[in-house]
Assembly symmetry: D2
């Protein structure tokens, strides 16, 4: 019915405004210069995130569907396309940090313009299912970049010799934290059998979590809480970074090449360990969940403990029984398609499928994940070497 | 009972002699210079293979178990250790091709010496289960290197501008070929349900295929035959190497970096496609199974066909219903541990487990696999970029 | 005498103020973001230049000589030290573009602070010869960075896909241009004999141009004017970039690696050649002196012409007879010490001597050289591959 | 006159035979495998040297001048062309060590064939001046490769963990050693003035040493003997490798990157310094001239001594007054053309000119230089980083 469809568009518009605003509020504490730099290939300049998420709406909604829409600047497609080969040439990822223009204020103007146009469009449009799906994807896409904004800002400030502050208080409070932590249990027993895996129910989900399917799992026990800094520090103290037996061959190469001996952002200074957090350089909080470890480290820690990392299906099957949401949790599952998975056609089809090789799945969400952007079927994925996400460890035995 | 145990040792000795001799017969057609070079990191010099497989028996059998054994040359541990961190320092993989010494005749002398000692040892020894297991592993290890010898020799000769001949006839005849090819069927129907996966029965198997376990599979159809050169050529003709939509993101990078446009060893010369085979440079045999494609190519081809690669469990569950053995067949399964997998302790524990990240599983075997070294539960694995194995494609829909 | 010494300090102070202000005026047209990026290793972020030149005065004047001076920020030594190993650890050159802090306004505050302190110091100080020399060096150092500021700004803006404008008019007018161009002569005849080479007279000079000495030169003819864009374009049209015979072996490698076919900033678009200048992207001015060629290109062009580049001594001996100052002119002289050259002790000794290998000398100055910072004995030097300076060609036969 | 011309050809033939035989005798102690490997880009496989020097005569004499000559194998041009772009495609330098074929015996057959044909040709030919010049160049070219054969063999054997012996006695005895060593003098005084520099007289010389010209030199004192191992060791003991003040900026980068702390081939084992020589690993002979230092090391040593390296003209002007011939002696002169230098036309023109950038001149000759292949005007040249030549140090003050 027409009316309900319009309401749907209005609801979406409210969500749109809220989400778009949140991206900008994340950048609130930044100085203009902080928006520009790209210290490593994986980290994008904050201004690029702001432009790229805007480009998504312009390219996939306004240009194809909003009649008479005038592009803000035709050259922006080249600058802000991330990896969509379908949509033309693009700035190579490693070059993003070389671009001083468009300036930060140009990009905020771009956001304003696109937001105004989107508002016009959404107040008038009768949304087909297809457009609605793209819109929802765009909003979830922006939320993904909100988390990346935080991880990238942390990397930029945390690798500056002056260790600038992002905010006085830790971000922990303002993000969703699981509340039903079962402190009385160490490990949760799960019995052998067939489990249903994959997204079900209403609401948005990515294509990579669809295709609900059966998975036969053997009995396992999964930790009720993530590994803490104190536990991880025992591994460090026991020379875990020097004992090749616990490491994958590639992980061992990584350790030697980077002379790794701690999670990212940890520094040993003046006889003590501290770490950079968004609230500044400080002493380690030992009871906090360990953060910024990569898959190699997570896996080596588990081996040292005589345990292992969960499969993503084990994690999902048990996820209602433990608290999660502080750290993305490395699983021992490679990122591969679920049964019946097939790529959407067109540029949107490039969203997930083409990354399904040489990455490991992380489950849960983190203190940097925007509210409402987590669910137990969510499949995050990164290359095993990456430390810069808010990633931690949950053990299985 | 003593007697049967002795017989077991004698049987093993016969097997030992046969397998050891076969490695040398593979090198029969080589000139001394061919034993020495290492054109890329993944390819080892043939003389290194001959030494390394010998070092295995010396290090894991003779030194620990044969009382009074005198090492052939204590420095060889450094030269021939491949990746066993437990056993001390080793020549970096990329440096193997820089070592002119030990000479080929030194290495044959080393083989003779170790073979004599092994014969002495095996005729006298009462083998414990543990020693027996290491011996079997050593023989299977040498068989794995026999296949690598052939793939590496092919790479060395096939990348020489003079295209030297390895042998007049193709190796096809002397190796095992599946005989029960079901030519009348295109695709084999497999029904949904729980399948038992992993090695069962008597005889040798690697630790990575143990841990027989249940896997829930949805219904699928698997091709009765591997993809042929003719079929793959259609993909090439249809500009498959220029259409990013079929490629993983990493695969597309690989295509562009290497300007790939055909399987390895194919060359377009004088207006026609030919390829280097061990029997020399020649015209393409179009009805032959396509060979020397990597995972990216296999996967792109499947996407172009509107199909996909099998999971390793799908392959195994159906493997008694189709012929296999010509090509290692890429699956869409990452190389990960089976349930209950745990690394053996000591150096032998480094055999498989530490490679379980960023590799894809191949199933079956190839014309280069030694007789008796294939079974349907066998899990071969390589990085997705590797083309130099005798690897091909089987489709699933 | 005291008085004259004081006057000397006052004079210096005026000069100091003027030069310091000029650095900032060069940055006038920049947006904050432009100060931050470092697209290639050789190009430093403008804010780094502003900080580094300030650090020079703080480190070599204020800290050692101004009693009671309070450092602005002790961490800045780490950030702004360019290459003085004597003065402690420093940010690796390739990392300069990763630092968003200190911010641009922090750095301007740093400049103000140091400038105030310098004014206080200079109005009171009785300058020893040693201090005076360091001060003069600091001013000349800042002038060198003024030219680098312009070349680096041009690189940053000229490699941005949006081609931002730096200023409406070309900088040509505001910089010194030789006025006595001998248009009636093509080549100036110079006779064989002994010439005196090196700085003489009063005023500042760098240590690398001192050590006036005799050089025996054979007769030569040197062009009265630099090579124009039109002349260079003939070389391009004649496929000069495809004819290895004109190139050094290293130069030929450079051509192939970079697929070079024109000077830096030239683009062939819409059927015509244009170039990026600080006044924007525009058509080639054919009568202008060619700019942004590296030594390999200069040398290949000369070879194609059947001529050669001058020796630096040939250039200097004839320099009063032709106009110069538009382009730094590549010579065929390697950057090596003059007779009796010896490094000063301490950090200042690192200024020139340690770069005297694998660089070629350029003579003259360019439209980007600040007024009063050029003389005929001046020895500029860059690696043969560098194009990003305002460098051109003068022929000798 | 005809007769004398014929005699000239006969003389040349005798020389040809002697020189060609000497190349093979240098390889006498090698095992087949030693001919094949290329541990670093700069080192060529010995079999490549044997083929390449043969290819020179085939390509520049037999093919153009010997009517009816049948090429041995047309593909060899591709394999053995070193850098002559004029003569077509060639194997990239870094790939030489990947080629197992042509085999060593193929290459000896190639040598025999070309030698027979050259003998036929030379017994009949009436040699024009042009051909005579190419022939002489070919012989001197082969002599240059004789020295490279020795340096490359030393590198190959000296970097093998087994340290194989090349020959029982050091090569010192069989090569020319200067006999007029002025032991009673430490430094030789040279007075200021004009010196004539460059080749003069009869006999062969390379084009890069022609163009005899005047050079004005200031007074200098040049050491009568090269620096010894004992003297160099003092520099090492005084932490010369840790004191950046003595190093060029590039040299200091080299030290840090390679963690250099001694000349090449030196090893500190069992509490003592030893080095690999062609006669095996042994204790340092302290009174011997230091060997296998690169330009950076030579220059840093001189700086530490408070002295400097000679200019090439200083070396040449004084060369009749001191003994030389043990070590190639680094000068502080960049490799640049002499006045009036011009490249020959055709492939021969690529011999020297195109390398005249980013290399430093070495003067003298070494124990590895073939007899009759040294003269005081000889200009050898290598990149400053190279240690693997028999290079040493002579001081100037």
């Amino acid at each position: 019915m027409e009316t309900s469809v319009k309401n749907k568009a209005q609801l979406l518009l409210e969500q749109y405004k809220k989400i778009r605003k949140h991206s900008e509020s994340i950048c609130g504490p930044l100085q203009t210069e902080d928006y520009v730099v790209q210290p490593i290939e994986d980290v994008s300049p904050p201004k690029w995130h702001l432009g790229h998420t805007t480009w998504f709406f312009e390219t996939f909604i306004l240009i194809p569907y909003f009649e008479g829409y005038l592009e803000f600047n035709p050259q922006y497609n080249f600058v802000f396309n991330s990896y969509y080969e379908t949509v033309g040439a693009r700035v190579v990822r490693t070059d993003r940090g070389n671009l001083s223009r468009p300036s930060v204020s140009d990009i905020y103007a771009y956001r304003s313009y696109v937001d105004e146009q989107m508002e016009k469009y959404l107040t008038k449009a009768v949304l087909s299912d297809e457009i609605y799906a793209v819109l929802e994807l765009g909003l979830n896409h922006e939320q993904q970049h909100q988390e990346l904004l935080l991880t990238d800002i942390k990397y930029i400030l945390g690798h500056n010799p002056l260790f600038p502050l992002y905010e006085a208080d830790d971000i922990g409070v303002q993000f969703n934290l699981a509340s039903d932590l079962q402190d009385n249990l160490d490990f949760i027993e799960m019995s052998e059998g067939i489990y249903e895996i994959g997204f079900s129910g209403a609401g948005f989900s990515f294509d990579n979590e669809s295709g609900r399917h059966k998975k036969y799992l053997e009995a396992y026990q999964i930790a009720a809480s993530p590994v803490t800094n104190a536990e991880y520090f025992e591994f460090m103290q026991d020379r875990g970074y020097e004992d090749f037996r616990h490491w994958h061959s590639e992980g061992w190469d990584w350790v030697k090449q980077h002379q790794a001996r701690s999670p990212l952002y940890w520094h040993f200074t003046d006889g003590d360990w501290g770490y950079y957090k968004l609230s500044g350089f400080q002493s380690i909080n030992w009871s906090e969940a360990v953060c910024h470890v990569n898959f190699y480290e997570a896996s080596a820690f588990a081996s040292w403990k005589g345990m292992r990392l969960p499969l993503e299906e084990e994690w999902e099957a048990a996820s209602s029984l433990f608290g999660w949401g502080e750290r993305w949790e490395w699983t021992n599952s490679a990122y591969l398609p679920y049964p019946r998975y097939s790529k959407a056609s067109g540029a949107i089809g490039e969203y997930n499928g083409k990354f399904m090789v040489n990455q490991m799945v992380l489950r849960g969400s983190s203190i940097a994940t925007p509210k409402g952007h987590s669910r137990s079927s969510y499949r995050n994925f990164f290359h095993p070497r990456h430390q810069w996400q808010f990633s931690g460890i949950r053990l299985v035995k």
